[in-house]
Symmetry: C2
Subunit: 244 residues, 2 copies
Amino acid sequence: MLSLYQRNKGQMHWFYSQNIKKDEILLENEEAQHALKVLRLHTGDHVHVTDGLGNLFLCEISHLEKKAVRARIIEKKEKYKARDFKIHIAIAPTKNISRFEWFLEKCTEIGIDRINPIICKHSERKIIKPARLNKIIIAATKQSQKAQIPSLEPLMKFQDFISLENQSQKFIAYCDYEINTHLIHLAKAKSDCTILIGPEGDFSPDELKSALNMGYQTCGLGPERLRTETAGIIACNAIHFINQ
Amino acid sequence: MLSLYQRNKGQMHWFYSQNIKKDEILLENEEAQHALKVLRLHTGDHVHVTDGLGNLFLCEISHLEKKAVRARIIEKKEKYKARDFKIHIAIAPTKNISRFEWFLEKCTEIGIDRINPIICKHSERKIIKPARLNKIIIAATKQSQKAQIPSLEPLMKFQDFISLENQSQKFIAYCDYEINTHLIHLAKAKSDCTILIGPEGDFSPDELKSALNMGYQTCGLGPERLRTETAGIIACNAIHFINQ
């Protein structure tokens, strides 16, 4: 039998399911529709299914019904492609939500573990639709063939977020701060990281002060003037580069 | 008088003009409309104007007309924030053009010098609209406060592109290549770089072979499976990181 990795190099389709039994997986709703109507899969076809929690299953389609697809589990791989560092970004959602959606898609592709949308003093957006955003994250997880779905946390206030217990390396990206060492020179490899990314108008001086009081360290993301969503992607990418 | 840099930290508006005389600049068409109707600027207001060729002008609005705005040049800065390395990416435009547009916007923000859209064996898109794409590049140049507009070259065939005379470091990002050293471990700092990024179906084995024959070196962009536009952004970002 081919290993999961070898099969993975081909064009096998990826699905997401939360309905996983001992030796069978049920694909439901949109996942079943995609298998039936878009891909037109048949009994006997092999597919990859992830539970979004790090497990990857190689399966064989066993039953096709009108609204559900059953697949027999052939092989299970735990902690599929798990990294030895976690990336956690707390970011102010952009006024134009499509920019925030791009950030979610790109960071999911590059590899991120947790996203905390935060409301800051200069935030222009104070509402998000988690269901839509989670769909984007799940699609990007499948498309980039990952088994772990990044966790999108509920929107919370900046002050509440920085007060949370957090044992990782903690950074605040602040555009105008005078001592602006680049994140790649500050973060340690193989170590979890939390990075705060501010809204279009940046963090307020009070927010910066509060973050410093809570043990956050300022960092830069290079000399260029970046949009919020670009700063988020570059921060995520920087942690991956440090770990190369 | 404040230096350009100090003024730049404030919210002064940026414009682009190709009509620059010895001591006066004319803002035309959309730039004039933006100044008049969106920003509602007045005589005496200070603005930044770039010629897109690396020069930045601090100006004072001197005349407002119906379809044009004249500005007196107060100060000129040549080679504004010029880098000591050039980034040149040759990339296959994506099937969904908005993904390619997003690549152009983000690389302009991060900093890129030249983009060559290329047609590869597995390319699904063989037409682009340069006028629309250049508008996106100019908007991102102004928004990220740069004086040099990246050059978007005409679409050309992969084979023609790699045959061009090119004295920079040359890389081809190839997903499935076995020896897949990350670009950040291969590219040298303070040195110009050209990177080839393939279409959704990657480069063909023949294309890889031709590129190697023309002196290109294979490189990886990390262990993750990336979309074309994400690979382009990560490659651009990697060269910036090397130069930090």
